[in-house]
Symmetry: D3
Subunit: 313 residues, 6 copies
């Protein structure tokens, strides 16, 4: 269960209202790389990890909880950046000031002018408040969340998510010179780097973590790189050793010709027989191992999530 403390994890402060920056910051509240996306991703991944990997469950739930706390920091900052909007809207019977805005006669400092320009929904729908939408009004959507029931996949997904979230904070920092907000963003950006390292360490701690999932690659199709965009540049990604594997990239200069000659890669030279058999054997071993981990961990009979044992720290 969750518990809430009114103090923020980071002491978010704002020097002055700025609806335009509030709108940009929505990307990290309700955007595709934002805190809600991160929180919900780790939270949903945690459920699947609990039985067989209680240590990773704990890590995922820790970070999910931190991301919910970051969501709160971002929301608080947005709300403070919109200071004055709600009060002005509630002055419903007197629109003289706003009409100056609509007529272009208002000072640019007018908060309603700024809010309206930044995001029409700030003044029509949200009443000057935060909303789980991005900087262009797209409602947050669970398509942003990936949770696939396999730690070697989920943790790699998380490395990518943290990378994007870090970049977005980096971009956001360019668009404000409020030193308080700079501090907040620096905190939030850095925490994404820390999480990256935590997920990396967790992935490293899993033996047999490549390829992601259970099955090995089919040796017949693994080494080819195809020249499909005429005029291919050669580099470490299509020649030399495949990183971490004991194999070399094989460059196919004429992929259309190769497809025809091999009847669509079904009539390949027969060199791989032994390797195929090894792969099959490996697949069975890995299936047994990974499947066993899950099955062994699951309780028999009635399932119960919590123990209500000794108080936890």
């Amino acid at each position: 269960m969750f518990h809430h403390v009114k103090d923020l994890q980071f002491n978010a402060r704002v020097s002055r209202p700025d609806p335009r920056f509030a709108n940009l910051l929505l990307e990290q509240f309700g955007g595709e790389n934002g805190e809600l996306a991160a929180a919900m991703q780790y939270f949903t991944q945690a459920f699947g990890a609990k039985a067989a990997h209680p240590d990773k469950y704990d890590m995922l739930m820790d970070i999910a909880t931190e991301e919910f706390s970051h969501l709160e920091i971002v929301g608080a900052t947005i709300q403070m950046l919109l200071k004055g909007v709600n009060g002005e809207l509630k002055n419903a019977a007197d629109s003289s000031e706003i009409m100056q805005v609509m007529d272009g006669k208002a000072l640019k400092e007018n908060i309603i002018h700024q809010a309206l320009t930044a995001n029409p929904q700030f003044v029509i729908i949200t009443g000057g408040g935060v909303t789980p939408r991005n900087s262009q009004g797209i409602p947050w959507c669970a398509s942003y969340v990936n949770s696939n029931g396999d730690l070697t996949v989920d943790l790699r997904t998380n490395l990518a998510s943290e990378s994007r979230a870090k970049l977005v904070y980096e971009h956001l920092m360019k668009f404000t010179d409020d030193p308080y907000i700079h501090e907040t963003l620096s905190f939030l950006m850095t925490r994404e780097v820390t999480h990256y390292k935590m997920f990396e360490a967790a992935l490293n701690s899993i033996p047999d973590n490549f390829p992601p999932g259970v099955l090995a690659a089919d040796p017949r199709f693994l080494q080819n790189t195809y020249n499909l965009s005429a005029g291919t540049v050669r580099g470490p990604w299509n020649e030399g050793e495949m990183p971490g594997l004991d194999k070399e990239f094989a460059y196919v200069a004429d992929p259309v010709g190769q497809a025809r000659e091999t009847k669509g890669n079904t009539e390949l030279p027969d060199l791989m027989k032994k390797e195929l058999q090894d792969t099959e054997k490996l697949n069975k071993e890995m299936s047994g191992k990974k499947s066993g981990e899950e099955k062994k961990a699951e309780p028999r009979g009635v399932a119960q999530w919590s123990t209500y044992a000794d108080p936890q720290d």
Copy 2:
């Protein structure tokens, strides 16, 4: 900031796996009336309430936090209902059992058979885990959340949300005879009723809470009810006193004729002059009052969200 305790608020237990019910239960995890929708709605409403209505902020954050805890209960139950799916999927090299499923030869008790039938993504995408989608695979979407910066509106929104959530739990209870799950659902359903009463009490505690928002109704257009669906039945909703107002419904039997006679309701008999003036005056008063509440509550100068004062209880 949030803190997480591994024990659930309610001791969720499951007698036996049941992917079909797991799929139904997704409605309350990632569906339009589910716990994530409730949690995010009260959470976003809370930000706007904090300055001028710190007591309602606290109530909204309390209930939001409880809904996040309920989200966890629902997720845990779904995960337990899918016990066995992930282990079976990880047995990637041996599909003999699954193929019996696909060929219709498997026992109906086969867990993969049940999962595949209930929701194809359980076996292809989520790896037998929970996902913030509804029972038909629609990703959760922030369009389910309403937060409008006005407590008289937000609280009414919440009364409706709790009503729908309660009904969904009521429906769900019919589709399982697992006594443990029954208990869990009874707890969750009842909490929606409690929240309903809490929101009702909070709304009652706000003076001038009707009409929602600030402006009064325009007396010229308030009392009419139109017979627009030929053959209107008369009832308390179109005759007699308007509840809580000192006015009567006025029944317009021929709305097309009425529109023509009044030039589209712009040429009405002049009886309302005095009432219009009263309304205007009331609007100004209410604007001053409600706007003042907000403006007065907002800090001047640098805004800071938290105080880090005495530890809270």
Copy 3:
């Protein structure tokens, strides 16, 4: 079946084009709280009500029809606010004027300049016309519509919808000083208040309308309010009488401790036995009653929707 009369229910007029306000007004055409959402909500609710509650069916269809007529008023206003855009776009071979816009040299009064700034789709996609999208271009989506087959739920949903719609009109009125549009918005805003009162009266006319749905609350879990957001403020929503129930709120100061002590609320003191039995009995009675209402009302044999009997008024 529907019939259409070219005269609007309200005589919508517009003093001068104003694409920016046209864009704001899209919220009430294709937005989440707009007229299409209202019309479709009451329209879909009406189908389910027809057999057992023909009087409420009539009311819902009446108001749905009025909302479709309001949708038309809003659309007509938007179209008039965009006067000139389509004509300018059709002058396809001469972009000299528009290029002054793009170069920032055009007068701010230029209609294309205004339209482009307000909403790029006005000039690229809709040809200066109305579109069922909101002020940020999000296409209208049926997720905005709630229809749950239970009048005590549906009517509460509608009270919330009308509250939000009323507030949006209130906000919109601040952003125009066109007196004609003010009149139109005052009419539309007030009709939401009237509908609110109609739905309220209809809900009041249903006996046994709380809790929404059929089942009573579980007495074991009903009265608790949890201090989940450290530092809870006490108020009528967590102390004293629960409104309309003959019970008091029970305040749980340490919810984590309480969960542990009660094994997640499953080991509660045994005081409620009698009340639980009463609840069960009540549930059976209510099930019989509400279920009976529906079943009795449904025709046996071939179902036919209309009677084509006496002409209706």
Copy 4:
């Protein structure tokens, strides 16, 4: 404004409940080619047509109104196909029968069994009622609606929409042998054909209706057809006369080579000079004409939508 008559345009009847067919039929209620999509498309197109093309406005509004009436027929049929579901759900305290469903012991004729299998939301969310979603639960979305402010485009859009709607009814007819529903579907399918013919006649009545929009095609790029999918089959679509134009298709056998030789189609032989000049002249004429039609039709000064003149027939 709209008016509603309780009798349906077609006498929808249903022999017996059939939730599975109800689910299929949702495609025509809340699906991409359904009645709501059609109604909203013609309705939004009508606004833009009103000033300059009041006759087409009337036609669009006529057909929109008919589509709303068809939406009602489809909804009524779905509701009748779900007869019994709501009553069963309201029997909330007794789930004995449903549990037989969940355990696979229920008769296949059990209505809840059928509803749950057809669409889980029928029993959890909609209470056995209609919903503006498609057969897979996707909420209706305004992306289905195209309205572009140009009749030569809009009418062609409508020919396509009617074609798809007709096909969907044709498919649906295969999935029921209820003779009453067959009659209803035959009526609805045929009306799509009639509308197709009405839109075709309206398009034919517009002079200069090709190409759609205002500008003529650029003669330099008009005639080429490219062999981009190696091994092109020749047919009337890439050889011989271009239908209705006084030109021939020109077949480019080696498009990659052609792009290189012509520097990406920018260095073409200079044969088209005269034709280019003619095109430019034509563009100016057409711009003047089409733009003039719009501009001339728009009222000066205050805009008013309706006249409230003589009662219309």
Copy 5:
């Protein structure tokens, strides 16, 4: 399989950066009528056509491939219009220039100012790059694609799609005076016209292409046009000959009355018996023919997509 050549089909050039036009142009990259929508529509239609209509399959795949190439042209143009944005963003440690933008002190020529104003995601999310979203940030969505497994329907769908795409290019041309971009847009716009003519020719080459699909219209319901929007204007779309059919429109002046008199069109005068029988016979013939075409074309036994026969041209 696809092959890519780095040269564009048209030599896209850009005189100077212009983020605002880049944003408008997104409509044709990730918008509802854009190149991705066209490419994916013809691509998915092609699969279904391949067995029975290999010539149309080839045409659809040809045009799909051209649309992918156009997508590349549009993307390249957007990228060039955003020149400078990414470099400026990567200058992450120095926001002095950007802050002048945020403070309104920057020159309007500043590229970040322009990008931020045009589309906040250009500077926060896409790093100054192209994105499959429209001019208002809506992610491209497969609801834009219609593919229905019937060529007489699909080709009509395509005529409409090409009409809309042509109009959008026409509109876009008004918003830039860069002569290079004008050339590019003129090429792209014209290709839509060519495709229109190709689809038209293909449709004409199919015998029995009306009505779309297989079944004939029901003669009892085909000829009526209803006066549903009071005050109907008469024109070729509701009087005289139905284009291409040997029938006349029949005008129903009072549709409500007609519905009542005919019991919802179920009690019609018996004149059509013979025609109904003819229709039924025709339906059987057409079913046999169209169904046969498909069935005959499908291979028996193992299905194989490609032949890897002689190299294709």
Copy 6:
């Protein structure tokens, strides 16, 4: 520009129709981790890379093109798995066989029965063809695509995408025993592994690739790991060395206390001054370097995408 060859890259074959597996396979056609998502992701990333990183541009375009070719393989397989559906649907006048399906009397081998059960849209909407939707009918959506204008971010995004795509193919392989399809899936699964290795090698070839983006982490906030989910398990992810950094994780056992003591992490011990200055200096250097790479690579004056120089290989 793209070119298409009718032979598939892999010789996709299908032993017998299987609509259920066709539906599962839709995940890799129009699903979140499918081939369209991959193709569009690398394709959009490629545009941004072209100027400053032409070698990575080539790699991205190569792999994008291969993913489009895989999309075609998946689509072809789905189409072959649906063999017979379209022919049956076109037999529109005879529904005797289908009605046996609807009545539950049909053989389970009936293709329409299978298609209808697998996915109702196969028989109502797509005409037995492929569609860019996932296994639950959700239309493909560009939210699945991440492209952020920074190679160190984009390549990490791609590692995650390939991991997920690989896992989905692994899961799919369990649900068919058709040896031809097994071969196809083994090819497609393995290609994801190859792409993973290509992206990994490309990322390794970029110096200074951590942290992603430009700015270094803020040393004050980098090392902490918080015990936010009471009862944290210790492991390499929250103790010991941070992988690849010359720092250690610092474990915060009481994060709420820590936040209060440090006033929300703003009053930290002053040990980091020197490191902060170093970070700032590093940030400036990296900004200069990364920004310079982009700026230097962009052409001055008119931008042109292609050279049409020597034919490419």
